[in-house]
Amino acid sequence: MAPILELRALKAFYGQSEVVHGIDVAVEEGGMTVLLGANGAGKTTTLRAICGMVRSEGEILFAGQKLHRRATEDIAGLGVAHVPEGRGTFIGLTVEENLRLGGYTRRRRAQEGVQRMYGYFPILAQRRRQQAGALSGGEQQMLAIARALMMGPRLLVLDEPSFGLAPRIVDDIFAIVERIRRDERVSVLLVEQNASLALQLADHAYLIETGYVVASGTAKALADDPQIRRSYLGY
């Protein structure tokens, strides 16, 4: 199957500093690919480069279209939904308003989309009129993911969804993400520090260190690799 997203020799910059030094990544259509690595490796920067939020060089191909140099809002309109680090929910707006914003580019089908999201995340239905800022961390993460899905994307980009959340909530969220991936037929690009969990769910994985890809392959292959097990899985 052709990859839905391809990064070729991608370099990304924070201001003047080059942080990602020419990486190649592919996300299979319908699959889940994870970028692993320690803090500061450049994973979040890579995701930001895909969405046009930081300066980059190299090629970014999404379903055959070049994303490089497009504005963030255009990229979103093409079908890439990004749940940023820290969730990026509109904390001053209600849960339902957050979801409606996710559906901004598909206004005619917004109401049906909102109902479907309440189906996946019943807790959001309960809190629909509350301010997003009053939700717990896990609920905000669900809201952020739901908002991204409202866009009807072909590619869902998740930046550290487990960050700051209790393990049980993380399990719940990932179970929903997996269900969504199958039912909605969305490809997922995931960045995670929680390597063991990510490798259980993903199909493919890339290990990034200080801006370089140092290992790649199927998730199972990386999980079985003794060096990676020692450094990132703790056993």
Binding site: Q16, S17, E18, H21
Partner: protein
């Protein structure tokens, strides 16, 4: 893969010598040359031009006061015209009613404006951003009204006429040139004091308060005290400038201290560069010359030209002339120095 160079690369340390002198020594020489040129200037110009340049320097001192507040303290003031007026009227009343010699009016004018600034700065601590702008704006608008109201002291609508001071008897100078040199000395002193203040501990504290007030407080900086002092120092400078203006122009009246004066100071500050000292002189030049130039360009809509000039400056140099050019110049100097010291930089990585 090239490793980027670390912090202070060798070749630009303070003790290094260029053609036998340190960078610091070169700077002293440049400053002395500039001062000598400035002092010689009035002797080649007509009286009117000397007067104009004197006003430029006076506005520069006023703008310098505003820079201390806005640039280093992050507080926007729309009311410095009021403090300028306070200094001017203090000098005028002292000279007119009490016969105080002109040079002796500067300390009281400065002191009164310093106290006013502290009194203003204390409640102003509570206000941020647009709220502070409003409070200072109120002051600027109240000033002409108050000046007209207390007419026994201020001469009301008519203002006060002053006698222009004469140069000391033994100097072969005429009045205008003497005043120019007098103001020049005050300007140099003011710039020196500002530099010492702002490049030292106080300055760093002010910048810390401006950029990260919570962190600054956490580090033990008494925000309230520094902010209030900054206000007082700022108004002191502008008040002294006002006193000088009264002396040089020889006349004070409420009309001369309208809201537009405060706006002019702010514009001069922004055009020169709010967090700079040299920018104050650029600001002074802008305030003195651009309105006249605007009039020459278009008699029908001169303020449109003035407004356009403001826009052009802000689009091209949003940090002001000195604020934009100074970092470029020092970047250039660093690269030249490194090349001179024989170190080449490769790749696009800058430290």
């Amino acid at each position: 893969m090239e490793r980027p160079l670390g912090i202070a690369a060798p070749g630009v340390l303070a003790g290094d010598r260029y053609a036998g002198l340190t960078a610091g020594a070169w700077r002293w020489i440049a400053a002395l040359v500039a001062i000598a040129l400035a002092a010689a200037l009035p002797f080649g110009l007509s009286k009117y031009h000397v007067f104009e340049l004197t006003m430029v320097m006076i506005y520069a001192i006023a703008v310098l006061g505003l820079n201390i507040l806005t640039g280093y303290n992050g507080q926007i003031s729309l009311g410095h015209g009021g403090f300028f007026a306070a200094g001017a009227y203090t000098a005028a009343i002292l000279m007119h009613r009490y016969g105080v010699p002109y040079w002796a009016t500067l300390p009281p004018a400065g002191l009164i404006c310093f106290v006013l600034g502290i009194l203003f700065g204390l409640p102003a601590l509570r206000f941020e951003g647009p709220y502070l702008a409003l409070v200072t704006l109120a002051m600027a608008l109240a000033t002409p009204q108050l000046l007209k109201y207390f007419d026994t002291w201020t001469g009301g609508q008519q203002g006060i006429n002053l006698v222009k001071p004469s140069p000391p008897a033994d100097l072969p100078l005429d009045r205008d040139r003497w005043l120019y040199l007098f103001v020049l000395v005050i300007l140099i002193v003011a710039m020196r004091i500002a530099a010492n203040l702002l490049h030292g501990r106080t300055g760093r504290a002010l910048v810390a308060i401006r950029d990260h007030p919570i962190a600054a407080a956490a580090m033990g900086i008494n925000n309230a005290r520094y902010k209030t002092l900054a206000f007082g120092t700022s108004t002191l400078f502008t008040g002294v400038a006002g006193a000088l203006a009264a002396i040089v122009v020889g006349y004070v009246s409420p009309e001369g201290y309208s809201i537009f004066l405060s706006v002019s100071f702010l514009v001069g500050s922004a055009v020169g560069g709010i967090a700079t000292i040299g920018g104050a002189v650029i600001g002074g030049l802008f305030i003195e010359y651009v309105p006249n130039l605007a009039n020459d360009i278009s008699e029908a809509a001169p303020w449109a030209v003035y407004g356009l000039a403001m826009l052009v400056f802000m689009y091209s140099m949003p940090r002001g002339v000195v604020g934009t050019l100074a970092p470029l110049i020092s970047q250039r100097r660093r690269r030249l120095a490194l090349r001179w010291a024989g170190i080449e930089r490769k790749g696009s990585v800058e430290s």
